[in-house]
């Protein structure tokens, strides 16, 4: 099941992990180049999403999650695949 407010939930998770106001996280802001996130924190974002939605992001996809939009889109795919 994909929650209706998936965007909002993921935005809040990212805001918590990188300690920014949710308002500062625009859909296409690049975590590393625009939001000053380091590589460990980027991994933590993926980990926090995995934990919250009980999904596993394939290793080769971890580096593809660089923006809120990308995170939402991948999580949605994983949740739909889970059924």
């Amino acid at each position: 099941m994909v929650p209706q407010d998936l965007d909002k939930q993921i935005k809040e998770i990212i805001a918590r992990v990188i300690e920014l106001d949710a308002g500062e996280i625009t859909p296409d802001a690049d975590f590393i180049n625009d939001l000053g996130v380091d590589s460990l924190k980027a991994i933590e974002i993926t980990g926090a999403i995995e934990k919250a939605f009980r999904v596993v992001v394939p290793e080769e996809k971890i580096r593809d999650i660089r923006t809120l939009n990308q995170a939402v889109s991948l999580t949605k795919q994983l949740l739909e695949a889970k059924g």
Binding site: V17, E19, L40, K41, I43, E44, G47, E50, R54, V56
Partner: protein, 412 residues
């Protein structure tokens, strides 16, 4: 090559169970104020021991700002806060010019929170859902590294994990580095944070007060039956005296001896004659160039453990000989508990205040005399006295011994 350099202390940052900040800490010691209280940061459940030396009103964000504290354990938060206080106190500015010649060495042994948290998440959530950010903090050098990262200190960074004597062993390491010409100034730290894991460990090996008697820290008193576990963080800025002078630093004291030894005896047992402790005390007197009668006070490692307090009494009696009865011996652990790796440097931070404010702190909770402990323990009330040289002892059943002699510098 080890050079004959004077080594001085120019900055103090302290967070102790009975006070935060050097002035509050020194005042608390003078008043004989205890920092031992019922634990609030975790629930000790049905254990017979319910108290600890907790730094209850510590708020890391007040020292370190609101960000960057997620998944950071209590010990790291405490020691980074102490480093901030020490740097401010010493007025040592870290710049691109001097940063390579400034080091950090930290005495800490029980880095248990992150390990416990990682294990908890593995069991409760499964390995796939463990929080990655917890892992870096599971390493023992994490606290020390955070000091350097937060203050942009680019000289050496080392962690010493020798248990009871860790912070004084760290001090010796710093002194040697300065004497080798490999650093001008070193932040020497000692820290332990209270965790339920650490408390449980000390409880289960039967080391805590309250298991077999009254739950009280009363060194040298007949009622003593174990330690009150505590937390503390201390950072001292230790410098080459010439470097300190050149930058116009205010000097608290000179370190005239830092000695250590190891009792190669049995795991977790006291060497029955305190042979190592006596040896470090003798070596310290010799290196400082002092005679027993020149020592105005001994800050003992006495921690309310039956055997430990007797052994230190015997060692002092033997080393000080005819001067033993004339030498006051105090035990600040009566007020601050046993902070393990931090305990030695906490005693040193206390000694600096006693130079400043001309007093010897009391051994509080002293009521029932034990015939095996028969020195002048400065019972219950602090004593006004000018002090020139203080000896600080540190030892435990782990086998390590350390003795420091520190000389008053009169704020020159």
């Amino acid at each position: 090559m080890i050079m004959d350099k004077k080594i001085v202390i120019t900055g103090v940052g302290v967070l102790a169970p009975n006070a935060i900040g050097k002035d509050n800490f020194w005042q608390a010691l003078k008043e004989g104020k205890s920092g031992i209280k019922p634990i609030t940061i975790f629930n000790p459940g049905l254990f017979k021991s319910q108290k600890a030396g907790e730094i209850s009103d510590f708020k890391a964000e007040e020292f370190l700002g609101p960000k960057g504290l997620q998944n950071v354990d209590r010990a790291t938060k405490l020691v980074c806060s102490a480093a901030k206080l020490a740097l401010e106190d010493s007025e040592l500015q870290i710049t691109e010019r001097n940063t390579d010649s400034i080091g950090v060495v930290t005495g800490t042994t029980l880095s248990l929170w992150n390990v416990a948290e990682l294990s908890r998440e593995m069991v409760e959530d499964g390995p796939q859902f463990v929080t990655a950010g917890i892992f870096p903090g599971t390493t023992i050098n994490s606290a020390s590294s955070q000091i350097s990262i937060r203050h942009k200190i680019k000289g050496f960074n080392t962690t010493i994990s020798t248990g009871y004597t860790a912070s004084l062993d760290a001090l010796k390491y710093a002194v040697n580095f300065i004497k080798l010409g490999r650093a001008k100034a070193v932040l020497v730290a000692g820290v332990e944070g209270l965790t339920f894991a650490g408390f449980t460990g000390f409880y289960k090996i039967g080391f805590l007060a309250g298991i077999k008697g009254e739950e009280i820290s009363c060194p040298f008193d007949k009622r003593r039956n174990g330690i009150i576990l505590s937390e503390a963080a201390v950072v001292l800025v230790v410098e080459d005296a010439e470097y300190a002078k050149a930058r116009g630093a205010r000097v608290y004291a000179e370190l005239t001896a830092v000695e250590n030894s190891f009792d190669a005896f049995r795991a977790a047992k006291y060497e029955p004659q305190a042979a190592g402790l006596k040896r470090t005390m003798v070596k310290a007197l010799k290196s400082s160039g002092l005679h027993q009668e020149d020592i105005d006070c001994v800050f003992s490692a006495a921690n309310s453990v039956v055997q430990q307090d007797i052994l230190e009494t015997k060692a002092i009696r033997e080393v000080f000989n005819i001067y033993a009865d004339k030498t006051p011996v105090t035990a600040i652990k009566s007020m601050v508990g046993e902070s393990f790796s931090a305990s030695g440097i906490l005693q040193l931070a206390a000694a600096l205040g006693c130079f400043e404010k001309n007093f010897i702190p009391p051994t509080i909770n002293y009521q029932e005399k034990d015939s095996s402990c028969d020195l002048d323990y400065v019972p219950n009330q602090s004593r006004e006295q000018e002090l020139n040289n203080i000896m600080i002892n540190n030892f435990g059943p782990g086998g390590n011994n350390a003795t420091v002699v520190v000389k008053n510098h009169g704020g020159e």
